[in-house]
């Protein structure tokens, strides 16, 4: 967990959420722009999970390790779930569904960073 990675992921998540809102406003389903955005977000999230996993193996111990791991797993799955569910939605609300997942990712990332930085002396 590093602040630059969280920042990059947050920017991507917000971009995906805005794209989702846009396609809802334009009465469209989700398209390639959404898929590319979500894929980029997922890539950063996986990189970050690997970085965090390596640090955990190296002895970094957040105080609430259990919560941290649960959040870390959830945040990696969210974009995948959001895309799958949005693609099967034929109405214009598909983009908003993806947007909900992206906003949840952004919020959870900062909570993860908080958890990560509180360590036992």
């Amino acid at each position: 967990m590093t602040t630059p990675l969280v920042l990059v992921a947050t920017v991507l998540a917000v971009a995906v959420a805005l794209l989702g809102a846009l396609s809802t406003l334009l009465r469209r389903r989700i398209g390639q722009a959404h898929l590319v955005g979500a894929a980029a977000l997922e890539l950063v999230l996986v990189v970050q999970a690997v970085v965090a996993g390596v640090a955990l193996a190296g002895g970094h111990r957040p105080v609430e390790t259990t919560t941290f791991l649960a959040y870390l797993g959830t945040v990696v799955l969210l974009p995948v779930g959001g895309v799958l569910w949005a693609r099967s939605e034929p109405t214009r609300w598909a983009g908003t569904v993806l947007g909900v997942a992206a906003v949840a990712v952004a919020v959870m990332l900062w909570r993860l960073l908080q958890l990560w930085q509180v360590t036992r002396g």
Binding site: L19, R27, T67, T91, A94, T96, V100
Partner: protein
């Protein structure tokens, strides 16, 4: 309706998606259209509140039993509402309505109590301060849910009434078994 101009403006369509199907009021289901957004938000809250409550109950129950039990209750309510909305149908709607009502009462009660007597809530719950720690989404969500469920119940009643009128000619049964007599709720 099927997509009439697949390929008319391919580049634009691919980037931002094909034109959407209009969410007509008859293709109902509580997990379609805007309902799917509700299910997504409820699902996120069910997972978030559930994970948090599980950890709190397992590791630090003694610190604030009341708050943690309320967190667990909230998580269960969110889960029930998610499942009810996702399943739809008459039973799903009824389940989700009860869950949303419990949720609304819970967020109002816990919100008021947490402001009136902060000492009783040393550790915050999802519903503390009317959900202020979660952008007041816990306060808005049950209201939206109940409005959506009422709309869906109206749609289902209309569809049932139409079927009762045309039942002799075309028999496809979409959601609920076609009632022999007109449904009791108008």
């Amino acid at each position: 309706m099927a997509d009439p101009d697949a390929g008319a403006r391919p580049a634009d369509d691919r980037a931002l998606g094909r034109p959407a199907v209009e969410s007509s009021s008859t293709d109902g289901g509580t997990a379609r259209g805007p309902g799917r957004v509700l299910v997504a938000i409820y699902g996120v809250f069910a997972v978030a509140a559930g994970a948090r409550a599980a950890v709190q109950l397992a590791l630090q129950f003694d610190e604030a039993p009341l708050a943690y039990l309320l967190s667990a209750l909230a998580a269960v309510v969110y889960l029930v509402a998610t499942v009810g909305l996702a399943c739809g149908g008459r039973g799903g709607r009824r389940t989700a309505t009860v869950a949303c009502a419990v949720e609304l009462v819970g967020v109002l009660t816990v919100g008021t109590l947490s402001l009136a007597d902060p000492a009783a809530f040393p550790d915050s719950t999802v519903w503390s301060g009317y959900g202020s720690g979660y952008g007041f989404i816990p306060l808005v969500l049950p209201v939206l849910g109940l409005l959506w469920l009422r709309h869906q119940a109206d749609v289902a009643a209309e569809v049932a009434a139409e079927q009762a009128g045309t039942a002799q000619k075309s028999p496809p049964p979409p959601e609920s078994p076609p009632p022999k007599s007109p449904p009791s709720a108008e």
